[in-house]
């Protein structure tokens, strides 16, 4: 893969992660997730046939659709999360994760014989996903964190192993998480209305 294209993908992955972490509305988070799945598709097509890689894109976007079916602004509203200091903190944490991953990726690449750009972008997504999981108790953000983490892992694992069954099960897991997220948000809304 050309350096310019890799650079573009790294910038896009970071931008999508920042959008998910900093955004205050669910549209931004879903858009960020959608971009992440597009990046994952572009990465996986380097090592898998396009048809097989497309399963990831379709499953990911379908999961986004499922999440957005029951999403609403009150589901992600959090006073503490919205203040300026919290945003700066999240931005700084993202930056620290970014530096850590850039520092650790070359060593990890000596253990895992996969293309460096796969490892870098995959690790970035895993790191951002864990940040997202740890930052908030809001279900919408937790589900987007789980999906981000899984996407990162899929990018790393794709060069190691590729089969129709693997693609099918991973796509099924992504869809099921989207479905469970949707059910959870519906219950949250019912609870909120009561």
């Amino acid at each position: 893969m050309t350096t310019a294209f890799t650079f573009l993908l790294i910038v896009a992955a970071s931008g999508a992660a920042l959008l998910i972490l900093i955004s205050d509305n669910w549209h931004g988070i879903i858009a960020g997730l959608g971009i992440q799945y597009l990046i994952a598709f572009l990465m996986v097509t380097q090592v898998w046939p396009v048809g097989l890689a497309a399963i990831k894109l379709v499953a990911g976007w379908l999961a986004c659709v499922l999440l957005s079916l029951t999403a609403s602004p009150d589901l992600i509203f959090d006073n503490i999360y919205a203040v300026r200091a919290a945003r700066i903190f999240r931005f700084t944490s993202t930056f620290i994760i970014f530096i850590l991953i850039f520092a650790a990726a070359p060593i990890m690449n000596s253990w895992l014989p996969i293309p460096y750009d796969h490892l870098l972008i995959g690790l970035m997504m895993i790191g951002f996903g864990i940040l997202q999981l740890g930052f908030s108790r809001i279900h919408f953000r937790i589900f987007s964190g789980i999906l981000t983490l899984l996407t990162g892992f899929e990018i790393i694992y794709a060069p190691l192993e590729g089969s129709a069954l693997l693609a099918a099960i991973l796509a099924g897991i992504t869809l099921a998480i989207g479905l469970i997220g949707s059910a959870v948000f519906r219950r949250d809304r019912v609870q909120g209305n009561q």
Binding site: W111, L112, I126, I130, L133, R137, H139, I142, G145, I146, L149, L150, F153, I156, Y157, L160, E161, S163, A164, L165, L166, A168, I169, L170, G172, I173, A176, I177, I180, A183, V184, R187, D188, Q191
Partner: protein, 465 residues
């Protein structure tokens, strides 16, 4: 006929059918319980890859089924485990007959059991990690149905189990590549670390155990009991499959001591945590963690002895969880929140539930004739020679559980002016009575009661050496 179709596809399709019938609780209960029991019995009597001649019909069951370029294989050695898993499922399904919060339990439970069996049948076996994650997603849906509002424990359960899967898959890749090319020491350490981390997430090792008390607190006891009894069992068998498959993982000198330390630590910390619990539901979760710890400990004893203890321990483990969950279920039906300080007079109003609770907690404390006694006594005598540290941790944990058990007993026999309001009906008494008798028989004649369980060890031929 094909074994994976019979024990995986058939229950999966039935679970889909039951999903549409979920409003008819009695119907799904009868079908779910009946089918699980039938599959368990068939796993005990049907031979695989051998021609069978029942009367005029020549029926033969083959072991393999190709799906999406991979193979699902159920061999003769897998059948005892399948029988045990479906037997457990049928008991849990049966007990859910009077629970109003279990609409999705049987449809999803049956499907999840089939998925867990496919996890142990898939080739290459590393795909099992993905299938266990699929089963976890089913468990989450099952818990969601009985929890309003959505408890934080369910979300944590999902997050932690999902985080465990990548570690296992990567560890599996490292170990599999070691079969092709020589692996160096740093790669070996890395793969073992990944493996331990992955299983720590899955089995609920401190501090990754927090989902267990949380779902026990908020969830329906029957559903939680089902998850606690089925999920760690599949995870343990998957771990044994790992150890059985890779010689250089088995021969890694630190593996067995690490398993013993982790197991001992799980028993110790669950003993400490349960000692400070004020409610029975919390103790239930920590008892499940301690039982998982005991299983890891027995796996940490190399050779035939460890595997024998582990397989013998599976039935008492199931009975402990069953008795505790059913007692909690009866308390819940009587609007009791399970707080220990409110158990005054329980022994007079609900003697069967009281005995069930006490047997459940005390069965891991080496009290003679209780279900776990012969195995824990054997485990401890092995640990004396292997690891003093693990032994001390286990003994301390056991003592703390014993103290907690006696505290519950004293509270239950207390005659206060305010007696607990609780009723045990005849069906409940019969069910608990049968479970107690089975438990006592397991403690008194363990060899006879565990003849089927011992056959599960035959799958792990390398570990028996």
């Amino acid at each position: 006929m094909n074994a994976p179709i019979l024990w995986i596809l058939l229950p999966l399709l039935t679970s889909i059918l039951l999903f549409f019938l979920r409003r008819w609780r009695i119907v799904i209960n009868i079908i779910g319980t009946g089918l699980s029991l039938l599959l368990a019995i068939l796993a005990l009597v049907l031979p695989i890859d051998q021609a069978m001649q029942p009367g005029l019909v020549n029926l033969s069951i083959t072991s393999e089924w190709n799906i999406l370029g991979r193979v699902l294989t159920i061999n003769q050695v897998d059948l005892p485990f399948i029988a045990f898993l479906y037997f457990m499922a049928s008991v849990w399904f049966f007990l859910s007959w009077d629970s109003e919060k279990c609409f999705m339990f049987i449809p999803i439970g049956l499907g999840a059991s089939a998925i867990l069996i496919s996890a142990l049948a898939v080739n290459p076996f590393i795909y099992a990690a993905l299938l266990i994650e699929v089963a976890v997603l089913g468990f989450v849906l099952m818990l969601l149905e009985s929890s309003q509002p959505v408890s934080q424990g369910i979300i944590r359960f999902l997050s932690l189990q999902t985080m465990g899967m990548p570690f296992i898959l990567l560890a599996g890749w490292f170990l599999a590549s070691g079969e092709i090319t020589p692996i160096n020491q740093s790669q070996l350490i890395l793969s073992v670390t990944l493996l331990v981390l992955g299983f720590a997430f899955w089995i609920g090792l401190f501090p990754l155990h927090t989902w267990m008390p949380m779902i026990a607190e908020k969830g329906e006891p029957i559903i939680v009991g089902f998850i606690f009894s089925v999920l760690p069992l599949a995870v343990l068998f998957f771990l044994m499959d790992f150890m059985n498959s890779y010689a250089w993982l088995r021969d890694y000198p630190l593996l067995y001591p690490v398993l013993r330390w982790l197991g001992g630590f799980m028993v110790l910390f669950s003993g400490i945590w349960s000692f400070f619990q004020k409610g029975l539901k919390g103790i239930f979760a920590y008892l499940a963690i301690a039982l998982n710890g005991m299983a890891l400990l027995s796996l940490g004893i190399k050779g035939l002895d460890g595997i024998l203890i582990l397989t013998f321990f599976l039935f008492p483990r199931f009975l402990s969880l069953l008795l505790f969950a059913f007692s909690l279920h009866i308390l819940g039906k009587n609007e009791h929140d399970g707080q220990i300080e409110k158990l005054n007079g329980l022994a007079y109003r609900a003697p069967f539930s009281t005995v069930a609770l006490l047997i459940s907690i005390l069965s891991i404390t080496m009290i003679p004739f209780l279900p776990g006694f012969p195995l824990i006594q054997r485990l401890i005598s092995d640990l004396i020679n292997l690891s003093v540290l693990s032994l001390l941790m286990v003994l301390l944990g056991i003592i703390l559980f014993m103290v907690k058990g006696f505290q519950i007993f004293l509270q239950a026999v207390q005659k206060d002016e305010e007696f607990i309001e609780i009723k045990e009906n005849t069906q409940n008494r019969v069910l608990i009575g049968i479970s107690i008798i089975m438990g006592l028989l397991t403690g008194i004649v363990p060899g006879t009661m565990n003849t089927i369980m011992i056959q599960t060890a035959e799958k792990f031929i390398q570990l028996l050496r």
